[in-house]
Symmetry: C2
Subunit: 188 residues, 2 copies
Amino acid sequence: MADTATPTKKQEIIAQAYDAFYNGGFHATGIDTVMANSGISKRTLYKYFPSKEDLIEAVLEQYGEDTDALLFTPALARSDDPRAQIAALFDVRREIMEKTACRGCLAMKAGQEYIGKHAGIAAHGREASVYLEGRFIELCEKAGLANPRETGRQIGLLFQGAALTAQMQQDPSTFDVARKAADILLAV
Amino acid sequence: MADTATPTKKQEIIAQAYDAFYNGGFHATGIDTVMANSGISKRTLYKYFPSKEDLIEAVLEQYGEDTDALLFTPALARSDDPRAQIAALFDVRREIMEKTACRGCLAMKAGQEYIGKHAGIAAHGREASVYLEGRFIELCEKAGLANPRETGRQIGLLFQGAALTAQMQQDPSTFDVARKAADILLAV
DNA sequence: CCATAGGTAAACAGATCAGTTTACATTGTC
DNA sequence: GACAATGTAAACTGATCTGTTTACCTATGG
């Protein structure tokens, strides 16, 4: 009846694979590991996803939706002022890291692992990067900046650098440092 | 006689592994691939490096030295002014990308792949991140900035974000965007 | 000329990988 | 109760992985 009430088997598989790949990496995590203690048999998995790469792409699409739901939507809801919304993106990103541990951006991790190997997966990394910049550019436009395209890209670089560095150094305060830099760029 | 004249077999192995891991990733690249068309037998390889992880650590140490020789040394040589040196780091990084193709930071790539799996390798990623920030902080101190520690970290985030984004989007001009942002942060 | 050191080449072991197949259990429907 | 759909469980294939071992080659030095 309801069509989003109970999770589809397909969604269940994606959710399990999501965690497994996030924690273990893509190449390093086998299909067997994805299924371990998850109540999903290999036959069912391959029914929905003909190959590991297909599964990875589905996971990355889910990740994109999650990023909207967990990062952009809550951050933009915190204020109506685009400058404050930009700052909120750094804050929410920090909170996500503090809640869900060390992990960086899954799509870019995938992009790095599959660059030159699997076009579809690598494209997800590129698109995630472009999408993030686009959101910042959009906010810079709303803020009425002189050069929203450049400033938006710059803030995007800060954000991506912060996500990577925070993960490497296991230090969520990195996002605060980045937010202050974004404030300076917005003030010019 | 000379002790750096002819490359040691050990150095030869590292150089071959360096390229193989850079192009293929760590988990995805097998020992067999490292040796393919390289004139190095498996027996010799395992004589010098008892495990793949040992080899990876040696490669990362070499990568650190290369980064000094190919990035920091030439960039710092371009000027005596610390602000200009910071700008030069972005320029040289762009030139490196244009010369040697798409590749991002090997140490952080390794850190991402081995986080929670191999402490020694993961530590190289963390150290590379900290080292980079340290170099920028040092230059910010020389430039007489009010808060060199914070500004140095911020510029480090820009640099790391630019390296990742430039790789993802295959766009070397990303480093120019980052350099302009660094200029703004330095002018405050 | 021979011994030793250091190398290549390649077979091999055991684990694990992606993906297929066979067999069986469960469930809802007619 | 029969049937079809959907699932689990697990054996299996063939490739590939890390790492070991056996056998042979080649240079150098006494």
